[in-house]
């Protein structure tokens, strides 16, 4: 898999958004935000890890994070469009292609 070219500025902005999501929606200021590379230039995958996901169904997790991104006026939509998928896990998992965490 080829490393994805996304500016550090956008990744930093997205990390801030997901940290705020963890804090405001999940009540977890310690949510872990990691990015993984995709095959597509200008696109990243996101892995969020928080024990608060434990009791949420798959679709609840997806709706929770996407509703936050779509309905929060502070979220920069251009930054949002670099995301090709968001995965959410209740505990840390190892994955291949990590950009940074």
């Amino acid at each position: 898999m080829v490393a994805t070219i996304v500016s550090k500025k956008i990744l930093d902005r997205l990390r801030e958004v997901f940290k705020r999501y963890g804090n405001e929606v999940l009540g977890d200021p310690d949510i872990t935000v990691a990015f993984f590379s995709t095959d597509y230039e200008g696109s990243v995958g996101v892995l969020l890890t928080s024990p608060r996901f434990q009791n949420m169904l798959y679709s609840e997790r997806q709706d929770s994070v996407w509703d936050y991104l779509l309905n929060n006026p502070e979220v920069n939509k251009d930054a949002m469009f670099v995301i090709s998928r968001i995965s959410m896990e209740p505990e840390a998992v190892e994955f291949i292609g990590a950009l940074e965490s």
Binding site: T38, D39, Y40, S43, L57, Y58, S59, E60, Q62, D63, W66, L69, L70, K77, M80, F81, I83, S84, R85, I86, S87
Partner: protein, 140 residues
């Protein structure tokens, strides 16, 4: 070496029919309360429809073999629809949700559970909502 001029054996018309077939399968599974399997199968409707769209855009009767992938994001790019999708944030979000299911290997091995009805109902919305459904946008 990647062979750029090879084609899959499946024809454009078959992908078009395949998308309709997988939609009927998705509905049949939901009618029978097979919620978990319906979530696993649902994203194939999008995959088949995008493969049809690629053949249409490239004016090809068969799909190029290099696009023999389950990656919806790749298929979206080669269907020439990425920018159009980015102009519609709600559908973009639904596409992302479906893409994560399709890439998530765990769904293949989940044991059937009644609480997956919630996930199946949500997937049904992400696919077929009259305003923001991905398949509504892809005209199926």
């Amino acid at each position: 070496m990647v062979e750029l001029t090879k084609f899959t054996p499946t024809y454009k018309a078959e992908f078009e029919q395949l998308a309709r077939d997988r939609k009927e399968d998705f509905e049949a599974l939901r009618d029978k309360g097979r919620w978990t399997a319906s979530v696993y199968l649902g994203p194939y409707i999008v995959e088949a429809r995008l493969k049809f769209k690629i053949c249409e855009v490239l004016k090809l009767e068969r799909l190029p073999a290099i696009l023999k992938t389950h990656d919806l994001y790749a298929l979206l790019i080669y269907a020439g629809l990425l920018d159009e999708l980015k102009a519609m944030p709600n559908i973009f979000a639904n596409f992302n949700r479906i893409n994560d299911i399709h890439q998530e290997v765990a769904w293949r091995y989940k044991v059937a559970a009644p609480f997956h009805q919630v996930d199946s109902d949500k997937l049904n919305d992400w696919l077929f909502d009259s305003n923001d459904g991905v398949m509504t946008w892809l005209q199926l």
